[in-house]
């Protein structure tokens, strides 16, 4: 949506972390446009369902193509787009419920394929649009409308999960640091392979975690977020696991494996090895 559309009446709540994610993404797309000289229409943003999915309608400036699909299925839709036209820059925007709850089953296959797309996960540890139910990243014991006696399950650890599944680029960000986040999104888009930028994007209405993330000196609250050490070697999986496994929220590139071939490259190689078959040739095989 390049200009205000009176028909489109969806609003994020004031202070929502997703505003910053949108800004970071817009900046990264614009930077890519200038660097690659490719038109904005070369970008496709595939969105899931939830507050996060509305990002695709709220983007300002030059408009990429958008696909606002069904809950949890943004990854395979993105695979269809990417494998149909590998020259496109394909992005997925999803929330923690969309990506790690209903859509979890789609992460491992794309990690195994090393599908060359970039995912931005907006994690607010809550189902916001349906008014505050618990999500896979909600902490155990948390009382929400759907966990009146406290959440029974453990919280999922998304970064460890991505590493275990073999995602070839994993970064972690918080929505308050827009510039860092935007650079991480650019790095992810530049990465040849499956890249995920996992963003802590607080929900001011149902799960306001700004204070915990940033800390509050006056109240004596230590910030949860901390920058990934400059010495950290993202190509070292053991080191990546150690960063991901540390307390709090690391901000920076956690893992980057550029050795792996992308899915479309491998498919292209097979394509070059096999001759295209005409229908006529194929029909001949079945001649009596």
């Amino acid at each position: 949506m390049s200009a205000k559309n009176p028909e489109y009446d969806f609003k994020w709540c004031p202070g929502c972390g997703d505003f910053s994610v949108r800004r970071a993404l817009e900046t990264a797309i614009e930077r890519r446009r200038i660097e690659t000289e490719q038109p904005p229409e070369n970008n496709v943003v595939v969105a899931g369902i939830g507050c996060s999915g509305n990002l695709v309608h709220l983007l300002e400036g030059n408009q990429p193509y958008g696909f606002h699909g069904i809950h949890g299925r943004s990854l395979p839709i993105a695979m269809g787009v990417k494998m149909a036209s590998p020259e496109l820059n394909v992005l997925v925007v999803a929330g923690d419920g969309d990506f790690l709850g209903i859509g979890l089953e789609h992460i491992a296959p794309q990690a195994a394929r090393n599908l060359d797309i970039t995912v931005i996960v907006m994690d607010n540890a809550v189902y916001g649009l349906t008014k505050g139910q618990s999500s896979p990243t909600t902490s155990p014991g948390e009382v929400t409308p759907s966990t009146p006696f406290g959440k029974v399950e453990e919280a999922m650890d998304p970064l460890m999960l991505y590493l275990t599944m073999g995602v070839s680029f994993v970064a972690s960000a918080i929505s308050t640091k827009v510039k860092d986040m935007s650079q991480l999104i650019s790095d992810a888009m530049d990465h040849p392979g499956f890249s995920i930028v996992h963003v802590q994007s607080p929900c001011t209405t149902y799960n306001d975690t700004y204070e915990q993330l940033k800390g509050n000196v006056k109240k004596g609250i230590e910030p949860m977020a901390w920058p990934v050490d400059e010495d950290h070697d993202p190509s070292d999986i053991e080191s990546a696991r150690s960063v991901a496994g540390s307390d709090g929220i690391p901000v920076g590139v956690i893992y980057r494996n550029q050795e792996r071939e992308t899915f479309h490259k491998r498919i292209e190689e097979i394509g070059f090895k096999t001759n295209p078959k005409t229908t006529d040739t194929l029909l001949k095989r079945y001649a009596i």
Binding site: F10, Y65, P76, M79, G80, V81, S85, L88, E105, I288
Partner: protein, 571 residues
């Protein structure tokens, strides 16, 4: 006695050569110029289990796999016990005396399939022993089968010669045993080779070839009986630059990646069966809502749930037409023969491109496995259509018009949001009532683009007509011809376009006192649809997991025609 038509059933355990015997017999006969059709049914397991196949050969076009057997080949006792009653009055039973013995009953003879095969030095030639015996029973020349063996086993391998020799010897040994028995079922009438180039092919291969001819670019599927052969075919043959065929991690992944590819401008497809189709229903709703061309083939099997994975049924019609929630009514093409499987796929892609939405091909197990000779499709006469593509400026309102509008392709100007939520012209979400009304009318209005004017109608003046759909077409047509020959005043209507129906056909149907719909489901799904259009329709149903027998249909249609026509017909 000369016979124009010959039906043989091979029954035994999976792996005994039941399938290769039936297909070999069909192939040898097809090469000689006969019309052929096979049928196969087996349990859902990797190896073994009671399996049977049937081959029919004829001097004229074949409509069904045949009711009465001229020959039953029983590979074991269980097969004999379960199939002997299907043998006609003059039929013969060949049984495997290596497995069991029968008393002399004047219509059967035994030979040890495996020992005879072993004596040739090739223990895998049991099927050739059987074919040799069969050839004697129908007085098929030894040379015909030998030619077939030479053609099949000339594969450029060092042991070709030895394999050909042992198989030919197996043919002779089988023939000798049949000669010794003294039986014959009559001489198969000589035939003029079928006119024009012919293919010997099954329904799923025909469907795959049709998709290929229509220009399919992108195929993603998940293994499921009886659609797996389409996935395998595509992975082998949809190759080269710009083409993509791949196995998904689920039908959810299959339908949604096909959605992504259709959105990105490709001709995209998946094939599945009932359980997978159920998983695809949300994606199909999205394709309808966001107006994305794609083709899904549902190769029906017995349902509901896991149901009968390797048996045939026509019980997915309602779920194919109304796959998900909300106001949706998907276009459906249901091929009625192996040949129609090819053209159904071509038309399905043309429809998807023309109205920009999902199209369902409704085939079924019996068609998917059936080998049949069909005329080679004339590719130069095929009409292949492509979607109208947007080529204007940015700021395009892709969904604004009241009819189908050019589709922008990612990478080119005209960016918009394909949206599963109700949307405005740009694709942005809206809740306005007038928009929902406008867009719903737009989506349903596009279906008019798919109204075809071709359909089959015989005896259009008759007050009662028979109108089968899908794979029940063949047996229904054979029954119809028999009833007409007996002097019945009966009409015939048929189309593979189940939705939308050709409008002229629908008008004709509405004039009938009764439309009889033979269909393989419990509820009478197609007659339910027809009644909702105001057609006085009643079903003849069967849920045995097998296709209709012609004689059963003849009897049941006669009963219906004889009954008070209007009584009990809800309009």
């Amino acid at each position: 006695m000369r016979k124009d038509d010959f039906v043989v059933r091979f029954a035994g355990e999976g792996g005994q050569g039941v399938v290769t015997s039936a297909e070999g017999f069909a192939q040898a006969s097809a090469q000689k110029g006969y019309h052929v059709q096979t049928f196969a049914t087996f349990p859902s397991q990797i190896m073994g289990g009671p399996t049977w196949t049937q081959t029919r050969i004829s001097t004229t076009k074949i409509l069904s796999s045949g009711d009465e057997l001229d020959v039953l080949v029983a590979f074991n006792q269980y097969a004999y016990d379960n199939h002997k009653d299907e043998v006609g009055d003059h039929g013969i039973i060949i049984y495997n005396s290596g497995e069991f013995e029968l008393p002399d009953d004047g219509k059967s003879f035994g030979m040890s399939f495996d020992e005879l095969a072993k004596s040739t030095g090739n223990s895998r030639a049991a099927n050739m022993v059987v074919l040799g015996a069969l050839a004697h029973l129908v007085k098929m020349a030894q040379a015909t089968l030998e030619e077939f063996v030479v053609k099949r086993y000339t594969r450029g391998r060092p042991n070709d010669e030895e394999i050909i020799r042992s198989n030919c010897e197996a043919l002779s040994l089988g023939r000798l045993e049949a000669e010794k028995s003294g039986f014959t079922v009559g001489e198969l009438a000589a035939t003029e080779p079928v006119e024009g180039d012919q293919l010997l092919i099954n329904g799923n291969t025909a469907l795959s070839l049709g998709a290929h001819a229509a220009g399919v670019d992108f195929y993603v599927g998940y293994p499921i009986s009886p659609a797996t052969t389409i996935l395998v075919w595509m992975e082998q043959n949809l190759t080269g630059p710009g083409k993509f065929a791949h196995q998904a991690s689920s039908e959810l992944e299959a339908i949604t990646s096909v959605l992504g590819a259709g959105f990105a401008g490709k001709k995209a497809m998946s094939a599945t069966a009932g359980p997978g189709f159920s998983l695809m229903s949300e994606g199909l709703g999205l394709a309808w809502m966001a107006e994305i061309p794609l083709v899904i083939a549902d190769i029906q099997r017995g349902g509901p749930s896991t149901g009968l994975p390797t048996k045939t049924e026509q019980s997915d019609l309602l779920s194919a037409m109304f796959p998900g929630h909300g106001d949706v009514r998907l276009p459906i093409i249901a091929p009625g023969s192996v040949e129609e499987c090819f053209y159904a796929a071509v038309t399905a892609f043309n429809w998807a491109e023309r109205y920009q939405g999902p199209v369902i091909i409704l085939s079924e197990h019996a068609l998917s496995e059936r080998q049949q000779n069909i005329p080679r499709p004339a590719l130069k006469d095929l009409v292949v259509q492509d979607r109208s593509v947007y080529s204007g400026e940015n700021g395009y309102l892709r969904y604004e018009a009241s009819e189908v509008s050019p589709m922008p392709i990612p990478g080119s100007v005209g960016s918009y949001v394909a949206n599963g939520s109700e949307h405005d012209g740009m694709g942005d979400t809206t809740h306005r009532a007038e928009r929902h009304i406008q867009m719903t009318e737009r989506r349903f209005g596009k279906l008019a683009l798919l109204e075809e004017d071709e359909y089959e109608a015989i005896n259009p003046e008759a007050p009662v007509a028979i109108m089968p759909w899908g794979g029940s077409k063949g047996p229904a047509q054979a029954a119809f011809e028999r009833l007409i020959a007996d002097g019945a005043d009966l009409g015939w209507c048929y189309t593979m376009f189940l939705h939308p129906l050709p409008p002229e056909l629908l008008e004709e149907l509405k004039k009938k006192d009764l439309v009889i719909v033979p269909e393989l489901n419990y509820q009478g799904q197609f007659s339910t649809i027809l009644r909702s259009y105001g057609v006085r329709a009643e079903s003849i149903t069967q849920i045995t997991g097998l296709p209709f027998k012609v004689r059963d249909l003849v009897g049941r249609i006669s009963e219906k025609v004889g009954a008070d026509r209007r009584e009990g017909v809800a309009v």
